[in-house]
Symmetry: C2
Subunit: 335 residues, 2 copies
């Protein structure tokens, strides 16, 4: 069996274990808010972050079992941010199902997100029952907290970016490092902490995932513009409709003539714009060279991630090989 297939099989196994763990921990009353909280988790998802936690733990010589609470915690934290982000972005579809606020209303969606946030900690605390020392658990909780803080800062930056007069690619990198890459990086760190890995290992694997995470998000931005609606699970051009400052948009705004820039700015974030207008905006962006630029930027971060990977000293080589494959999957072209 090739490595990619092996990873896929393992991801599925681990995903099921994590889901089972989550469903065992997250229950209570009133039922309605729990149903809203678990909606996206039930709708599926790639469970990439849990896989990062578990592989990081195993690479450091830890077991899969002690990493499951951490894996569940980051997936639950991630899901909470999706619920609140969807409210903010006014998204109507996620993972092929109606968004939480569409089904239960914005007020209930806010609370469903808050509830999940708390349960991320509840999941992680279960590591104590598996015999992980409270020193390690406290350290993992600190990492989870830093992740939550960083993701919130990133979300704030994302919201503020359209108001910045001349946003630069650097601003974008800061934003996605916080909003997307950080949770991957902290996932790896949490896995390492639960396994009792030394500081150097934690720092290395954190940096690997920061770079891989940025590459992952750039590729996601590209996919949002040139990808297939069915693969996306949401309408094409939704980034343009929401006025999102993707790396492609920022590059285009900084590299087209004033006329095209004005046209772009008129269409971006305009929910009443027609499909033809969005197509025109996409055309302006693509003709600016934004796709090629974004590709090479993603490549740069991907290469850095793979370089840093070579410096990691794995205890478990089998897990390390799968981790490498996971990173390759995260950073590869998907279009």
């Amino acid at each position: 069996m090739c490595l990619a297939m092996e990873l896929l099989k393992y991801a599925e196994e681990v995903g099921k274990e994590v889901e089972e763990f989550i469903y065992n921990v997250i229950k209570g009353e009133p039922w309605k808010v729990y149903e809203a909280s678990l909606h996206y988790i039930k709708a599926g998802g790639k469970r990439l972050r849990p896989l990062v936690v578990i592989l990081a733990s195993r690479i450091a010589g830890g077991s899969e079992e002690i990493a499951i609470p951490g894996a569940a915690a980051v997936e639950v934290l991630h899901t909470f941010t999706l619920i609140h982000d969807d409210i903010i972005d006014k998204d109507e579809l996620r993972r092929g199902v109606p968004t939480v606020h569409k089904l239960w209303g914005t007020d209930m969606a806010i609370i469903a997100g808050d509830l999940l946030f708390a349960y991320a900690y509840k999941c992680l605390l279960k590591a104590l029952e598996l015999g992980v020392s409270s020193d390690r658990v406290a350290k993992a909780i600190e990492a989870l907290t830093d992740a939550a803080i960083t993701v919130a800062e990133g979300q704030a930056l994302d919201m503020m970016l359209p108001e910045v007069r001349e946003a630069r690619v650097e601003d974008y990198i800061t934003m996605v490092s916080k909003k997307t890459a950080a949770l991957f990086a902290y996932s790896a760190k949490i896995g390492g902490i639960l396994a009792g890995a030394p500081e150097e290992f934690l720092l290395n694997i954190f940096n690997i995932m920061m770079n891989a995470g940025v590459a992952f998000q750039i590729r996601d931005d590209i996919l949002g513009l040139v990808g297939d609606e069915k693969v996306l699970g949401k309408p094409v051009y939704s980034d343009l409709r929401e006025g999102k400052r993707t790396v492609l948009v920022i590059y285009a705004l900084n590299n087209v003539n004033l006329e095209k820039k004005a046209k772009l700015l008129k269409i971006l974030g305009n929910r009443n714009a027609s499909l033809d207008e969005f197509k025109e905006a996409a055309k302006i962006i693509l003709e600016s060279g934004a796709l090629e630029y974004s590709e090479s930027l993603a490549e740069m971060y991907a290469t850095r991630a793979l370089e840093l990977l070579n410096e990691l000293k794995p205890v478990n080589v089998e897990a390390f090989d799968m981790f490498k494959e996971l990173i390759r999957f995260m950073i590869k072209r998907r279009y």
Copy 2:
């Protein structure tokens, strides 16, 4: 100096220490979201919950110093819930200042709340630096997490109550126990945990504050109907405008004739109703005997809190006397 004055002075001292601690911990970028997060904390507040944490620690023989991270954590958690609650209730004023979502918009207010939520944990984790063992810190984090879960469940119940056909006073008690009283109870528990108090102490002080918290909320409901706008810091009748199922409303709905009930239901939650109509609704409620009923219900919970207080075995009697005074303040009539 009388005990009430002593408590007031101590509350002010402790309040300042907790604020300073919070401002030292909660900082970062982008500035805008931090400004929104800290808005209510800067606007003042009684800091009741921090006081509960600190007194609970001291009663159990712990120091004020080791309790400060817990005190800051519960105040920050409380403030986060206020930001999200205000969005849901469409409140425009809080502590005499415009609400966070009024000033920064709903989207930023959601994220400002999320950021604060994470910082509640960050505050509590600082106890490790003060030499509190990671065993105790992990246990305190579990209590903070249970508090956050319970408050979110309570908030969901609060939102669902108007949709319940024949809501009973029991439903109300369940709701306020979760939404309001639980955070007081967990505050006391966190203080006790940080001080290393035995399980029996934790259970007792938890139950005392559950009862005191319910009495506190019932008195708050009463104040919302018959209180002074300046004392409230928000418009009178705002509970009626929002359709909140306070204990007075629930009692009235269950104890007036069908004609009055229909009139009440027409006005409750109707944001376009006139001041005269709200006055009429208030009159129906007051004439139903709801005030007397609510008073006696509050009295019952207050009495229970004071009874349980006598069973507590304090290590520090000075702190215990202040705690008793604090509970008397929480449960006394303020109108």
